[in-house]
Amino acid sequence: MLTIKQLELQYGQTRVVQDFSLGLATGQIGCLLGPSGSGKSSVLRAIAGFEPLSQGEIWLGETLVSAATVQLPPERRKVGMVFQDYALFPHLTVAGNVGFGLHQLPATQRRQRVTQMLELVGLAELADRAVHQLSGGQQQRVALARALAPAPALLLLDEPFSGLDADLRDALARDIRQILKHEGITALLVTHDQHEAFAMADQLGVMVQGQLQQWGSAYELYHQPVNRFVAEFIGEGHLLAVQQLAGQAVTALGPLPLTAPADATWLLVRPEDIAHDDDSPLQARVISTAFRGSCYHYELQLLNGELLSCQLQSHHCHASGEWIGIRAELAHWVLFSATGSRK
């Protein structure tokens, strides 16, 4: 449905996105994840047709919509967009906003479509309200209904939940995923919040400094990060140094399996890779603890000064400064070379 090949975007002399490629199949929900300033919103705006390309191609289905010399205007792309600030028109009612892009339809069909859309997002009874009378979450649904009303081939969502409370975010993300899946809509979302991304998307990409680091499922990003950027951006965890001792690769947790590549320098250790074991000879000092309801999150320090984190049952409590026994339970070994790429 959406194919991006070797995309490059430039503002003046600064290159904000480079060598960016991805594909999204019909009905899939994709997500670009990254810190602010990583260029993810620029990619979205380029797909919508608001930014010219300096190199590369953007295809929607069989149509080339953007290239260095081609730029189909946004209104002819059949792309819908939900803006970060929603950009609802304050002088129109809820129904007026949703029907805004349906001007080519006859009045009765337009009314039908508006009602249908408002029912879809669960706001049918608010059709005649003024936009400023709605809550943030309701405004967000109106923005979604407005973008979906003309039945776009692709829906773009720019940080759609950033203006909302944390509780509301999760609920809305689930609702919206359900709506998109039910309607079979292809969508691409941009966010810096990985919980949101995991809740919404089938395929995710991590962007850092204008480059797409990895494109895959949430499982792949978490368990098989291609480099240190991705490993550090997704989930929690620490990197332990790998040293060569008498032909054997060793970390502070113990020796690596013999199959480990010789030039591995860093080992990724997630909190769930560490188990508590009072009998273990391996000791770590508790630096700080945080109660998270279902578990305790511990920051630990090993004898050699390296840091680790782990999660223990919430009934199990240790004070800061206490030394506890730990055991490594790594299901697989995620190793990186000195340059940060996966080994």
Binding site: E75, R77, F83, H91, P150
Partner: protein, 540 residues
């Protein structure tokens, strides 16, 4: 607030009530209804008064709206040579009171003026050989009002456009909406309240004008009030006419309030990345530059330069005893009123901050209404009760003690000060309120918790923080008082002239060149708040 405390603070209910009195008085005057007078008025001049007032207001309002909105639109969406400078210069006409531009244009465009002389020399035509538009007409007045008052529309429209989110345009574009439809379906409805609000302000100014219409000989409600008061010596008739004018002005104020409330919802808040203006190329760019320059030339530079040239023809006039006397009168009157206005405004604004009961807050808000009401109306409203008091006192003293007190209050500066207080209180209050709103109640509490007494709080926290707003308020009301004409004309003590009054009198006597010196002084003073406004705009 407890009931006992309430009567101990008369400054928060008696003071605003007194300031509302002049407005109420003009309506109370209907108690002395004189059917003969009104049937006379209705069959002779009243239709003219109403028709001309409405025609002038509608014409000038419409023209100013067109001019102001197009300028704001042009400068917001397009880039062309001089754009940044124009953004600063376009509010200059605010410094020109309408009556002053009226005299300048009359002198510039009449038969012996430089334009017609030049035309005759160029074409060789003589008197009566050609047609030239008459400045001193309803059409001329409409054009001149629009030229000096369009900045109200321009400023409000500019702010409304700046508050619009560039995302709105993108959202429309991606929904397949054409630029033309975006203009009609989004841009225009979202800007309309600003244009209407500005138009209401323009029309309020036109209703309030006396100098221009009197000089042009156009009978309107304001000139009618003067005529009824002085010519027919009918005070209740003048007050009743005033109440008509007051009602029109208050209706406009409601329109302005309504549009401002709408605009609040239409403001996108932090709009993020602002829209880049589109660059005009070639002929179109120079056409835009030319059009804006032409407006500026006609609305400010030509009349102001003419005043400058005329005033330099008689350089001695700048140092004449007469001029210095006028300047002294004007400055001292303005300074005195400014101090009085600031004190009263401070008291009331602090009252609002205290969390007074709702009816007292409303009373204080209503005491600012005078800004919407023409000076003529306020003058009548002040004069009426004061002269009634004087007459009563005179009679009383004569009967009791055989002493006549005459016009004790109504012919003094006191009446004038009271009128200025009513007319300009809202200006001072608005400036002070915006300053005081930045001092959060939590700051007071923090200072109190750090051991500040109430007096120290005022001196160490409020005064330094309010300094800018105090100066702003002082400057704005000082210049407003300096420019004020109709109320000053009606209420000034005998033989007490100000710059504005003398400009008007000299111009009425066709001594246009002599009027240039006091007129230019007023314009120069009027430039101060304009500079202030630009500084504030640049900061944003």
């Amino acid at each position: 607030m407890r009931a006992s405390a309430f009567w101990r603070h008369p400054q928060w209910w008696l003071l605003p009530a007194c300031l509302l009195l002049p407005l109420l008085v003009v309506y109370v005057s209907w108690g002395q209804f004189d059917a003969r007078l009104w049937s006379h008025l209705a069959t002779t001049v009243l239709p003219d008064y109403l028709l001309n007032s409405l025609l002038l207001a509608a014409g000038a309002g419409g023209l100013a709206a067109l001019l102001g909105a197009s300028l704001a639109w042009l400068l917001h969406f397009y880039q062309f040579p001089g754009r940044r400078l124009f953004q600063l210069l376009l509010i200059l006409p605010l410094a020109l009171p309408a009556y002053i531009i009226a005299y300048s244009y009359t002198a510039l465009l009449d038969f012996s003026g430089p334009l017609q002389q030049g035309l005759r020399q160029l074409t060789g035509l003589g008197y009566g050989d050609y047609w030239f538009p008459q400045v001193r007409s309803v059409g001329g007045a409409i054009c001149l009002f629009a030229l000096v008052l369009y900045p109200y529309v321009y400023l409000l429209t500019r702010a409304a456009l700046a508050g619009q989110s560039p995302r709105w345009q993108e959202a429309s574009q991606i929904l397949g909406v054409s630029r033309r439809r975006y203009f009609w379906a989004v841009l225009l409805p979202l800007t309309r309240p600003a244009v209407f609000g500005g138009m209401a302000l323009v029309m309020m100014e036109v209703f309030a004008d006396y100098g221009t219409v009197q000089y042009f000989g156009i009978p309107t409600l304001t000139t009618g009030i003067f005529r009824t008061w002085f010519g027919m010596n009918d005070r209740s008739g003048a007050a009743q006419l005033s109440s008509l004018l007051c009602t029109l002005a208050l209706a406009l104020m409601l329109l302005e309030l309504y549009s401002r409330r709408q605009l609040r919802f239409y403001h996108a808040g932090q709009a993020g990345k602002t829209l880049q203006p589109q660059k005009l190329k070639g002929v179109r760019a120079w056409l835009a530059t030319f059009a804006v320059s032409l407006v500026l030339w006609l609305a400010f530079f030509w009349p102001a330069l003419a005043l400058l040239v005329w005033s330099l023809e008689t350089p001695a006039a700048w140092l004449s005893l007469d001029y210095l006397q006028l300047l002294g009168n004007s400055l001292s009157l303005a300074a005195l009123s400014t101090v009085l206005l600031l004190v009263v405004a401070l008291v009331l604004v602090y009252g609002l901050r205290q969390g007074l009961p709702a009816w007292q807050q409303l009373l204080i808000r209503l005491s600012g209404l005078g800004y919407a009401v023409p000076g003529t109306v306020i003058a009548i409203g002040v004069m009426w009760p004061l002269s009634a008091f004087d007459n009563w006192l005179d009679l009383f003293m004569e009967q009791q003690f055989g002493v006549r007190t005459g016009l004790l209050l109504s012919g003094t500066v006191l009446a004038l000060l009271l009128a200025y207080l009513v007319r300009f209180l809202a200006v001072a209050m608005q400036a002070l309120e915006s300053g005081l709103s930045q001092i959060k109640p939590s700051m007071d509490q923090a200072a109190a918790s750090l051991g500040c007494s109430r007096w120290q709080l005022l001196r160490r926290l409020h005064l330094p923080l309010l300094k800018t707003s105090l100066w702003t308020a002082a400057l704005l009301v000082f210049v407003d008082v300096l420019k004020e004409l109709p109320a000053t004309l009606l209420l000034r003590p005998f033989n007490f002239d100000t710059l504005a009054v003398r400009t008007f009198e000299l111009a009425s006597d066709e001594q246009l060149a002599a009027a240039a010196v006091p007129a230019l002084t007023i314009v120069l003073a009027g430039l101060l708040p304009v500079i202030l406004l630009n500084k504030a705009a640049l900061k944003n």
